[in-house]
């Protein structure tokens, strides 16, 4: 069953075609990876899905709803979570507050009850804290840093806090932009394990951009290959690895003739 479908999307900045006529579907509960050389338009696709860019042509459907003209903040309510390539945490806040922020849309406190605080707002904050502690902080093993300021954390931990914040949104679809970029082997393995666990335990669909081919081929169910804003192919990791266009895009034309199997 498809949860997200991208229907003939085109996007250009000035005269530069970033995406031309890209279409694909993401099925409920799968890990869907988007790969491609730098500048292929991967992040632009995520930005269109999460509402930061408007496509010039084409539509985005989520659970059957047409999202194309919906403002970004409304999409969070439908269950769309996101992590960013260049970590976009709130540096003035602690880890805990950053994670709480992810739950913003699920909370009800309005301006007046926030000013008063005692009563409804307090109850809601306590429930939120309990939920975050039990479901997210425990799950991602970040108990020891929960009260640290985010800016003082190591890079790998910041990525993990960002994932925690996205989980607090309780997303149906989680968009992850290069979750393991810049991480060492051990941190990458941890992150890959978390991604698989999120898929299993929360039944969350994951759309992921990554350059780490080993991880992509290990964990993803299906892969879409982009090059110069066009979808080259999509399929299971095995199929994609063997596809001649993909080999050409990654290794160049000449090698493609002689060496069809080794792209990784």
């Amino acid at each position: 069953m498809k949860i997200l479908s991208i229907d003939h999307i085109s996007l250009s900045f000035g005269g530069l075609n970033v995406l031309s006529d890209v279409s694909f579907d993401v099925n409920q509960g799968e890990i869907f990876a988007i790969i491609g050389p730098n500048g292929a338009g991967k992040t632009s696709i995520l930005n269109i899905i999460s509402g930061f860019y408007r496509p010039e042509k084409g539509k985005v459907f989520f659970n059957g709803n047409d999202l194309t003209h919906m403002p970004a903040d409304k999409r969070a309510a439908l269950g769309m979570g996101r992590t960013f390539q260049n970590i976009a945490l709130y540096h003035g806040m602690s880890v805990l507050d950053n994670i709480k922020l992810g739950a913003h849309y699920h909370l009800k406190t309005g301006l007046m009850s926030a000013l008063w605080y005692w009563g409804a707002a307090h109850r809601e904050e306590m429930e939120l804290r309990k939920k975050i502690e039990e479901d997210i902080i425990d799950f991602l093993e970040i108990e020891s840093i929960r009260n640290h300021p985010v800016s003082a954390l190591a890079y790998g931990l910041q990525k993990r806090v960002e994932l925690a914040r996205a989980l607090a949104m309780r997303p149906k679809v989680l968009l992850m932009d290069e979750p393991v970029a810049g991480m060492n082997a051990e941190e990458t393995e941890d992150m890959a394990r978390f991604i698989l666990d999120i898929k299993e335990e929360y039944d969350t669909t994951i759309v992921l951009i990554e350059h780490d081919m080993k991880m992509i081929m290990d964990i993803s169910d299906r892969v879409l290959v982009l090059n110069f804003g066009q979808a080259l192919t999509h399929g299971t990791p095995k199929e994609v690895q063997k596809h001649p266009d993909v080999i050409e895009a990654y290794l160049g034309k000449k090698k493609a003739k002689t060496n069809r199997t080794a792209i990784i």
Partner: protein, 347 residues
């Protein structure tokens, strides 16, 4: 003696005053604040009232600029709107003080929302210029709408009363100021324990990712402007009822800059910082001039050069503070508190 913090519930972990020691000192502070007017002289009472009124204004500006990251050069004008609203309502419509207070806040909030409108598109220095325009326009209105504001001569009002009890001296007014400061500070602090306050900080730190987290930027920026100018309006209403006079000269651009300096010196994004900054900017110039006055008595000939020195010393103090502690007085206070946290048995 305080030997450590051990929490058993999430509620106690998220309390503002996290342990018995800090609650004890808070109690002492309240007791001192209540005893203060009984021992202080006229001059100290006057300064305390002024500091309290300034604190409310500074908390307002810090919510907007320090927490939500929307820089404003029009804060003094919003205080002016509150002040004029209170003066006009009490002289022309004979409304009681207790009704003027919220109405002045609401009127200032209304102007704040209008000025805040462009903030969805404008950021940083551009917003700064937009609010500067608001400051100048409002100042112009204060001066030139003579039939309503009394023009350059301003207005005088009679002492306020609460259910017939006339607040005709600084001693009586002190308790009104104290209660209002406590209410405003408490509500402001509460705000930042909930999702609304967190949304403000998120908008300041990363507005794009804040939007993708489901925060409606327009709504929360409007909240920030409305709240900030509501507090400015309350501050203005207290101000005019305390001094019983109002003229356009009281709310110039320089006053807006002074409020910005207050929250920078005190600590951006800290309620405590607004309080400390407001007190610093109100009291320290007086302290300096007292010391200089004392020196003039000893060296009468140095008068002409000691007097301008007042501004120079004050400016230098601000610069020195900012160089050594860019996060303001609130951060200095936090460090002192941490040092004494488990004192004398640190380890």
């Amino acid at each position: 003696m305080h030997i450590g913090d051990f929490k058993e519930t999430y509620a106690s972990d998220q309390a503002v005053f996290i342990n018995a020691t800090s609650r004890f000192w808070l109690g002492i502070l309240f007791a001192l604040l209540i005893l203060f007017p009984f021992v202080a002289g006229d001059y100290l009472l006057f300064m305390a009232n002024l500091a309290g009124i300034t604190i409310i204004g500074a908390v307002g500006l810090n919510i907007l600029t320090g927490f939500a990251g929307l820089i404003s050069l029009g804060h003094a004008a919003f205080i002016g709107v509150g002040g004029y609203t209170a003066a006009i309502l009490s002289t022309r419509f004979d409304l009681p003080f207790l009704l003027c207070l919220p109405l002045s806040g609401l009127m200032a909030a209304f102007f704040g929302i209008i000025v805040g409108g462009p903030s969805l598109r404008l950021k940083g220095l551009y917003l700064c210029i937009a609010t500067l325009a608001a400051q100048l326009i409002l100042e112009f209105i204060f001066v030139h709408w003579e039939s309503m504001t009394g023009g350059i001569r301003g207005m005088n009002i009679s002492p306020p009363d609460i259910f017939g009890y006339v607040l005709d001296n600084d001693f009586k007014f002190y308790f009104v100021t104290l209660i209002m400061v406590i209410l405003c500070v408490t509500f402001a602090r509460n705000l930042f324990r909930t999702r609304v306050g967190r949304a403000f900080i998120a908008i300041r730190d990363r507005d794009i990712s804040a939007e993708l987290m489901g925060i409606n930027l327009l709504r929360y920026k409007t909240y920030a402007f409305a709240l900030s100018s509501f507090l400015a309006g309350i501050s203005g209403c207290l101000w005019v009822n305390f001094l019983k006079t109002i003229t356009p000269e009281h709310f110039p651009l320089l006053e807006s800059v002074r409020y910005l300096a207050m929250i920078i010196v005190g600590g951006m994004g800290s309620i405590l910082g607004s309080i400390l900054g407001a007190i610093f900017m109100t009291i320290v110039p007086e302290v300096i001039s007292t010391i200089l006055g004392f020196l003039v008595n000893i060296f009468p000939t140095a008068m002409s050069f000691l007097f301008p020195l007042q501004q120079v010393i004050f400016g230098l103090l601000i610069v020195i503070f900012l160089v050594f502690e860019p996060h303001g007085l609130a951060e200095i206070w936090r460090r002192i508190k941490n040092y004494f946290h488990l004192w004398p048995f640190e380890h």
